[in-house]
Symmetry: C2
Subunit: 424 residues, 2 copies
């Protein structure tokens, strides 16, 4: 443990690490562990989708010409696939364009301007609005709130979901709390999966606001890296069992299944919620790209086809997660300067360094040619109160680059930690 | 002229038309002239686009992997095509998804929530907001205003664009007038093209509101049906020459070029306008579908490729416009009960029947199996103050069906007119 070392020992440690750091810098690396992007090998697997529709005749499904106008909520076959993955009815699915983030933004933006089903007034006319934000979390959720002037409240994650005592306290007592952002499966970045108890407590909440909504971003719903892990309990069924089926908006997409820039996104919700949304959506747009939906349907055939495809993704991702786990274990175990999550799926690993060391670690890594996710990105307003969390995204770099990047990162973690201890 | 007939002559006329109408009804037709949709023959022409990207290697443009995340405003080659069509710089182009309507909605919605570049406050916080609406016009423009609570003011079209005296009066004196909807080329539904003088007067407006914007929906910019017609003067250049380049938002798309449900849309505007929008857009979405852009680029090659493609569309559309023109001329000339526009491009013909006769004509046609665009759709709040305008959309039905539909429509126009005269 570094904290038990004498000053002399720390100086020796630092001098050794400094040498390693200088060596790393001398290599003039250019490595990137910042973004949760599928890698080339994963994308190659969907090549067949490019030609899944090759002729005019291919573009029909039943009487629907997917090339032409028409259809606001997606083609039936695409709805069926999403319904199967999300374990809801086809009538609960609204298929969108290529971005589930866009669907989330639109949902919140519409709520601000028009309210949600059952609102007495648009959210923007109900005074100060607040969202609960389990942390560390996904920066782009937080950015939507910040842009729309929605106050964010940090809720610690526990390893099996948000601290539900706190969630209940806020949601049940403060009518200005209108929403909560959740990534229930392989949460970004901790990789944790919400427990059944957490899901049940969400379903049983008695919100002070009648138009409170759970934003259930199930981006990694079938993104196992190690198979056999438990799936999240079906929140829609849980809510419905309590008569609260209007409480939850669920999202997912094929962005990390087929092509990240050209996938298909969806929103799932109660029929009452969807009816309110579709009425507004009919004014917003001519409807989503049906050809791209049909391409997905023809290529994957059905939800089973997608699951099989995801197993092949896992084969590529698993060694990358292992490189990070192994590197951290080898270099950092026993030093008391870092802890990290060991997710069995998703796209991220959450690394906690010593308090006040994240920014310095990031800066050191950057100077050594390793780009990490911006420090603070995992917290509302980009402010990590303890300056300790770093999101690791192992998916994109090739294995050799990732190995190098983890080595450099470990050196930076050590250097930042020893600097801090020496300065104290 | 019907209005010069004696009552007896009118009764004879009615009885004759009634016989024709009964005959038409007996045929149990099911014809549709309601929607501005390209027909099957037009869609078939873009079959090659389906396989324009067939392999993984096809999906790159330069270093950009169009399958993966990244890029908020479109790929360079797609920007170049739109820039060339709209006669603006590449830096003025923001490429969107498959719906220019969606881009328009988003522009107005963002203006309501955040304001536009140069606004002192969001439009929604500036009291009552108004838009000018040249009429007859496009129902979906009007629906956006209605949904967002923007008051609409009818501005008559003159055959060469809106009544600019009225436009100037409103825009220059009323600071609550924040926008105007324009379809400058082959206006929907009149088919008229704005004159150079109209464009120049738009460019020289001295708006009372500093954040006034022209919504220039150039949906039919290269959609000539008869070639050799004049194009609209470049409004961006005209505005820029007056130092007013921030005044105009321009839109177009490939919806009626490639595939209506799976085309590519764009917004063109000054760099200052785009900078403000892109900052917000970066929170809204992960960015548009780059693969579909690249598909368009590879299939059409460049703007010239699109222009050549549009000449082939015109070959299909021209006979359809002629069927309507010929039918109207043969059946209605000299009766003084209808007038119609004769556009040289676009997707519509505007039919004016006698005052108070549009709804009855629509109902008669519907009962005889011919679906027309809803009466009133071409006016704000779906209210045609004189109940006289009907939008004719000749593109979608096959020629034989269109011929029949026009015949039936002419019978209905006559019947509604004679009924009205007899009732007076």
């Amino acid at each position: 443990m570094l904290k038990d070392m004498t000053k002399e020992q720390l100086l020796d440690f630092k001098s050794e690490v400094m040498k390693q750091y200088d060596n790393a810098c001398a290599k003039k690396l250019k490595l990137d562990m910042s973004r949760g992007k599928p890698c080339a090998k994963q994308l190659v697997m969907s090549e067949g989708m490019l030609t899944a529709l090759s002729t005019n005749e291919d573009c029909f499904t039943g009487a629907t010409d997917c090339r032409n106008y028409g259809g606001l909520d997606g083609i039936d076959e695409m709805k069926e696939i999403f319904a199967s993955i999300l374990e809801v009815g086809k009538e609960n699915i609204l298929v969108g364009g290529n971005s589930s983030l866009n669907m989330m933004y639109d949902t919140v933006s519409r709520a601000m301007t028009f309210g949600v089903h059952g609102s007495d007034a648009p959210w923007s006319q109900q005074g100060k609005i607040k969202f609960l934000c389990p942390v560390p979390g996904y920066d782009r959720h937080f950015a939507i709130c910040e842009l729309l002037g929605i106050e964010m409240i940090n809720i610690p994650l526990t390893g099996t979901g948000p601290d539900m005592d706190l969630v209940e306290k806020y949601v049940e007592n403060d009518p200005s709390v209108k929403g909560i952002w959740c990534v229930p499966h392989y949460s970004n970045p901790t990789g944790e999966t919400y427990s059944d108890e957490v899901v049940d407590r969400f379903a049983s909440l008695k919100p002070a606001a009648k138009d409170f909504r759970i934003f259930w971003d199930n981006a990694y719903i079938i993104h196992d890296v190690i198979y056999g892990a438990k799936r999240v309990k079906n929140i829609y069924e849980a809510c419905k069992a309590q008569g609260n089926e209007d409480r939850v908006f669920m999202y997912t997409s094929t962005s990390k299944i087929s092509f990240p820039g050209a996938g298909v996104a969806c929103l799932a919700a109660s029929e009452a919620n969807l009816a309110q949304i579709k009425k507004l959506l009919a004014i917003q747009t001519i409807g989503p790209d049906k050809l791209n939906q049909l391409r997905h349907v023809r290529f994957f055939k059905n939800a089973d086809g997608i699951l099989a495809h995801m197993k092949r993704h896992a084969e590529i991702l698993r060694p990358k997660f292992d490189i990070v786990f192994d590197g951290f274990e080898k270099e950092l175990t026993g030093l008391g300067i870092a802890s990290w999550t060991k997710p069995t799926g998703g796209y991220f690993i959450s690394l906690d360094v010593n308090d006040g060391c994240a920014t310095r670690t990031y800066d050191l890594a950057k100077a050594a040619g390793v780009t990490l996710t911006n420090v603070g990105a995992t917290f509302p307003y980009c402010k990590d109160p303890l300056d300790k969390n770093i999101r690791i995204a192992p998916s994109f770099p090739p294995e050799d680059e990732l190995t190098q990047a983890v080595e450099v990162l470990c050196i930076c973690i050590k250097l930042a930690a020893v600097e801090k201890l020496l300065a104290e």
